[in-house]
């Protein structure tokens, strides 16, 4: 079980959280302006990297808020967590 650092509540066990998939996936501002390939890519294509991954989590059984984590998908070690709207640490 991961120990996940919520930016508001501090480190809490994974069972308090809900995983939200890849972070920073931007919805096309005008969906009718993009073609099927671009819309399909927004809906379905994901990086799924072996290594550093920026991802969304929600502290469902805590403060209820969304935030982002950078995690290594091989070691599962969480490198950083940060608030929505912030850029991922380099």
């Amino acid at each position: 079980m991961l120990l996940i650092p919520c930016p508001w509540c501090g480190p809490r066990p994974e069972s308090e959280f809900r995983y939200g998939g890849q972070a920073h996936v931007v919805r096309p501002p005008d969906p009718s302006a993009v073609d099927d390939a671009a819309w399909g890519a927004y809906l379905y294509l994901r990086d799924n990297p072996k290594g550093r991954h920026a991802e969304r989590w929600r502290h469902l059984h805590g403060c209820g808020r969304f935030f982002n984590c950078v995690r290594d998908t091989v070691s599962d070690r969480i490198v950083a967590s940060y608030k929505p709207g912030e850029a991922p640490p380099s």
């Binding site: 994974e14 399909g40 294509l45 994901r46 990297p49 072996k50």
Partner: protein, 418 residues
């Protein structure tokens, strides 16, 4: 000496007295070029190579693996076989596989220990009952066996099952596919490897693909590997959980997420489980191997990972469910648990077919249930590679369905909650 004599009682006796067994397939060294390169020597990749050689006469084939043959999900799954999927496209694909399973040991002259002992899927809520009955009716319309059992009939079919109604999730009934069952997962890889190798296919282990080479118009010209470049105009990717990583080498983003999926086995006991039991609602699936171990499948972790190990709380949840369904198993100790990396698609259906890169083919997205499809997957993927166009059964499972929106939703039939 004929093939049949190789594993006779006499040969067993002779080898039991100290004679070493011969290699069952050649330990091939990579050549500079092949007609077709298959990436991934798991069940799907080996089956693909076998059917390329057998049905399409394409024998100049290499199957590359970064580790050892059958060392990924082929050797890590819970060996369950069934074809009771909901949508017509899936029913056709999985039933194609099931029909091949029925003759596979004879086809390969290798005992894959296919055992159609019945797969029982438990319904615990009114919603489950409605969904499973819908599956039963849909399957029967497609000519696929599936039947509805009351809880008493389920108890008669699987005596260790507790069907008392006072528990948290009582068994309200079950869907039974009698032709479903299990097979020996390693034997499937070995059988396909031996048969493919005998027809000239090179199986090259410890040979990781590090790049996909392309020409000026973007078509595939070969692969870069840890054992040097290998030229091929057709490359088939069958790398399960690592598909996104391999496809990224050709600049193709995939609609996949890779999750760890766990399984575990108990200490071996005398025969107690006559069939396979699956429960989506309490999340457990269980059968008994011929060695006597109870083989138990747990769920996926909540987050994507390549760690090949899952969280302990995931398998704990499954064991709690197993103990409630089968009170007599409570005192069993678990011997081992492990994880495999499964690649899941948004609609829980696989992707088999062409890619935007000419000469590059992909067979992935089998998620938590790829083992059951092994022969059918290899068969239609081989045809797709040989002809350069999708096999009719594979056609609906194209990568571009994520552009057209023609998804094949099997979230209910895929059994494992993702």
């Amino acid at each position: 000496m004929g093939e049949a004599a190789r594993f006779s009682f006499l040969s067993l006796l002779r080898h039991g007295l100290g004679k070493a067994w011969d290699r069952q397939w050649r330990d091939a060294q990579p050549k500079a070029a092949y007609d077709v390169v298959i990436v991934g020597a798991g069940g799907h990749g080996l089956a693909t190579a076998y059917y390329l050689a057998k049905e399409h006469g394409i024998r100049d084939v290499a199957v590359l693996d970064k580790g050892w043959l059958g060392g990924g999900n082929t050797g890590r799954n819970t060996t369950i076989i069934r074809s009771n999927y909901l949508q017509p496209e899936s029913a056709a694909l999985y039933e194609h596989a099931l029909k091949l399973w029925e003759g596979l040991a004879q086809e390969l002259n290798y005992n894959v220990m296919y055992s159609p002992r019945g797969v029982l899927m438990l319904a615990h809520t009114r919603h489950d009952v409605q969904v499973f009955k819908r599956h039963v009716h849909a399957n029967r319309l497609h000519g696929i066996d599936n039947e509805w059992l009351t809880s008493a009939q389920a108890k008669a079919f699987c005596p260790p099952l507790d069907v008392s109604q006072g528990v948290r999730y009582p068994v309200l009934g079950a869907a039974l596919q009698r032709r479903g069952g299990v097979a020996r997962h390693d034997a499937v890889a070995w059988g396909y490897a031996r048969a493919a190798s005998a027809m000239g296919v090179d199986i090259i282990q410890n040979c990781a693909v590090t790049g996909i080479a392309r020409d000026a118009v973007g078509a595939v010209t070969g692969v870069e590997t840890t054992r040097g470049p290998i030229a091929a105009r057709r490359v088939g990717v069958a790398t399960a959980g690592h598909t996104s990583v391999v496809m990224a080498m050709a600049g193709v983003r995939m609609p996949l997420e890779s999750f760890p999926l766990q399984a575990l086995v108990s200490e071996p006991v005398k025969p107690v489980m006559p069939c396979v039991v699956m429960s989506n609602t309490v999340h457990a699936y269980i059968s008994q191997s011929d060695k006597g171990e109870l083989v138990i499948g747990a769920g996926t972790d909540a987050y994507t990972s390549y760690s090949q190990a899952g969280g302990l709380h995931i398998s704990r949840e499954t064991l709690e469910a197993v103990c409630e369904l089968f009170p007599s198993f409570r005192r069993l100790r678990m011997l081992r648990n492990w994880g495999g990396i499964v690649d899941t698609t948004p609609d829980r259906s696989p992707i088999v077919g062409l890619t935007p890169v000419p000469g590059l083919f992909v067979n992935c997205g089998w998620g938590t249930g790829g083992f059951k499809a092994t022969p059918g997957s290899g068969h239609v993927f081989a045809a797709t590679i040989a002809r350069g166009e999708p096999h009719s059964i594979a056609a609906p499972f194209s990568l571009d369905r994520f552009v057209t929106g023609r998804l094949i939703d099997e979230a209910a039939a895929a059994a494992v909650a993702h």
